[in-house]
C-alpha cells in the first residue's frame, strides 16, 4: 500500500509525532544539561565575587582555585537586608529562594574577621539592565571594589564598565552619605582639584564616548548606595565592625 504523504490523516499524525518527539527531546536535553548549566553559572558568580573582594586576580586563577577561595572566605549573608524606605531587598534570607533573588555575600579572612560585604547593585543602563556587585568594607564606608556581572551596553563603549582599569577607580572610594541631598559618588563631571573639594575621594572618571552608560551607572549606583546604607542600619550591621 503506497503511503499517501499528503492525505489529511497522515499530515495530522505526522505533525503530532514530530511535535511530540521534538518536545520530548528538548525536555530531556534540558534535564540532562541542567547541572552543567547551573555549575557554569555558579562558577561565574564565584569568579565575580572573588574578583570584587580582591581575593585574587582572575587571570591567574584556575576554576579549582576559585572554588577553593570562595569556599574558604565567602558566605551568603544569613540575615535579610532590606531598605526600609523603598522596600528593595539586597538579601533574601529564605534558603529556598530562587537563584535569581538578590544575595549579599560576606567575606571573612582566615582569622574570621569580616573583610567586607558584596551587595548586589542593579539598574537600567543605556540599553538594558545592568547587574553587579559592590564590595564595601564592614562599616559600609569605603568601596573595596565593583564588578559587573550582566549588561547589554555597547561593546567598546559602555561595555568598558567591565574593564579592570575603569573599575579600579572605585577602590577606596568614599561612600558615606554627605547629606543635604548630595550624591555619594560622582561618575564624570568636574574632577576634584583639591583635598577640600566635596568630590574628593568620591570621584570616578566617566567613560569617553559612553555618556549614556556612565550617567546611568552614576544614577543607579548612588541610589543603591543610599538604599544599602539604610538597609544596613536597619539590619544592625552599621554598629558592629566584627
Amino acid at each position: 500500500m503506497k503511503l499517501n504523504v499528503n492525505s489529511p490523516g497522515y499530515v495530522l499524525v505526522f505533525a503530532a509525532v514530530v511535535s511530540t518527539v521534538f518536545t520530548a527531546g528538548i525536555m530531556t536535553l534540558h534535564a540532562v544539561s541542567e547541572s552543567a548549566a547551573t555549575a557554569s553559572a555558579q562558577l561565574y558568580e564565584q569568579k565575580s565575587l572573588v574578583d570584587v573582594f580582591k581575593l585574587g586576580a582572575n587571570r591567574e586563577l584556575g576554576d579549582r582555585e576559585i572554588r577553593d577561595l570562595y569556599e574558604q572566605s565567602i558566605r551568603q549573608l544569613d540575615i535579610p537586608l532590606v531598605d526600609p524606605q523603598t522596600g528593595k531587598a539586597f538579601n533574601s534570607s529564605d534558603p529556598n529562594a530562587s537563584p535569581l533573588s538578590p544575595r549579599t555575600y560576606v567575606a571573612r579572612n582566615s582569622g574570621g574577621t569580616i573583610i567586607g560585604y558584596a551587595v548586589p547593585v542593579s539598574g537600567i543602563g543605556f540599553w538594558s539592565r545592568i547587574d553587579g556587585y559592590l564590595a564595601v568594607t564592614s562599616d559600609f564606608s569605603t568601596v573595596i571594589g565593583i564588578v559587573f556581572t550582566r549588561h547589554q551596553e555597547t561593546p567598546g563603549l559602555g561595555g568598558r564598565i567591565t574593564e579592570p582599569r575603569w573599575r579600579k577607580q572605585f577602590e577606596g572610594l568614599d561612600i558615606t552619605l554627605p547629606g543635604a541631598d548630595k550624591p555619594s559618588i560622582y561618575i564624570g563631571g568636574d574632577k576634584p582639584t583639591s583635598d577640600d573639594s566635596p568630590r574628593h575621594g568620591r570621584y570616578v572618571d566617566a567613560i569617553t564616548g559612553a555618556t549614556g552608560t556612565s550617567s546611568a551607572v552614576n544614577r543607579f549606583l548612588n541610589r543603591d548606595i543610599e538604599a544599602i546604607r539604610r538597609a544596613a542600619r536597619e539590619a544592625g550591621l552599621l554598629d558592629n565592625t566584627k
Binding site: 528538548i26 525536555m27 533573588s101 537600567i124 543602563g125 540599553w127 538594558s128 539592565r129 547589554q152 546611568a216
Partner: protein, 216 residues
C-alpha cells in the same frame, strides 16, 4: 518567574514612558540598523519604492501583532508551565516561530478576502516574511526587554509596532536613496549589494544621532 518579572519591574525605575519605548524601538535600537535583522529582504526589495512600501508595511503589521501575541503566550502560558519542567527559555523559540507563521497565514487569507488591491500591494510579501529574521528577533528582544527593562503589555504593543515601523522607515529611506543614485557611477565590484551595504552603514551612523534624544 512571572513574579520575578513583576519584582524586577517594581525595583527598577517604573516602566519607561511609551514615547521612549517608541523612539528606542524605531530609532535608537532600530532592528535593522542597530541589530542587523531583516537584511535579506531589505537588500533585495529596496530597489523599488513601491515594493519597499508594501514590504515595509507588511513587516510593521506582522511585527506589531506577533510581538503582542508572543508576549501574552510567553507570560500566561509558557512561564506558568515552567515549574512543571517545561524549559521556557528553549521552547519560546519554537513557540514564537509557530505563532508568526500562523499569523502570517491568517493575515494572508484575511487580506485576500477583504481587498484584492490590498492583497497585491501587501499580501504577496507575506509568505516572504515568515522567515524574516526581524520579526522573530523583535519577539526575542521583546522578552529581553520585559525581563531587563520591565516592559508591560502596553510597552510591548508600542515596542512591536515601533520596531516594525523602524524597519519600514529604513527600507523606505533605502529605496529612496537607491532610486536617486540609479544611473550613478558605481565600481563594478560594488554594484548592487556592495553599495547598498555602504549606504546602510552610513544610515546606521546617522541613526546613532537619535541616542541623544533619550536621557537616562
Amino acid at each position: 518567574m512571572t513574579a520575578m518579572f513583576a519584582e524586577t519591574a517594581a525595583q527598577l525605575s517604573p516602566s519607561p514612558g511609551l514615547w521612549i519605548v517608541l523612539i528606542s524601538a524605531a530609532l535608537t535600537d532600530n532592528i535593522l540598523l542597530t541589530r542587523f535583522l531583516g537584511m535579506c529582504p531589505f537588500l533585495s526589495i529596496s530597489k523599488q519604492l513601491k515594493s519597499a512600501f508594501g514590504m515595509g508595511l507588511a513587516v510593521m503589521v506582522v511585527t506589531g501583532f506577533t510581538c503582542v501575541l508572543n508576549y501574552l503566550l510567553y507570560i500566561y502560558v509558557l512561564l506558568p508551565l515552567t515549574p512543571y519542567g517545561v524549559p521556557a527559555e528553549s521552547l519560546k523559540l519554537i513557540l514564537f516561530i509557530v505563532v508568526i507563521a500562523g499569523f502570517v497565514q491568517l493575515l494572508e487569507m484575511v487580506i485576500e478576502r477583504i481587498s484584492l488591491k490590498l492583497y497585491f500591494s501587501l499580501g504577496i510579501f507575506l509568505p516572504l516574511i515568515t522567515v524574516n529574521c526581524a520579526i522573530l528577533g523583535a519577539s526575542l528582544f521583546m522578552v529581553n526587554n520585559v525581563a531587563g527593562k520591565g516592559y508591560d503589555g502596553w510597552d510591548v504593543l508600542v515596542y512591536g509596532f515601533g520596531a516594525g515601523a523602524g524597519w519600514f522607515l529604513a527600507i523606505m529611506l533605502m529605496a529612496g536613496i537607491r532610486h536617486r543614485i540609479a544611473g550613478g557611477k558605481v565600481p563594478a565590484g560594488l554594484q548592487g549589494v556592495g553599495i547598498t551595504l555602504i549606504i546602510t552603514g552610513i544610515m546606521a551612523m546617522a541613526f546613532t544621532i537619535f541616542q541623544g534624544m533619550i536621557r537616562t
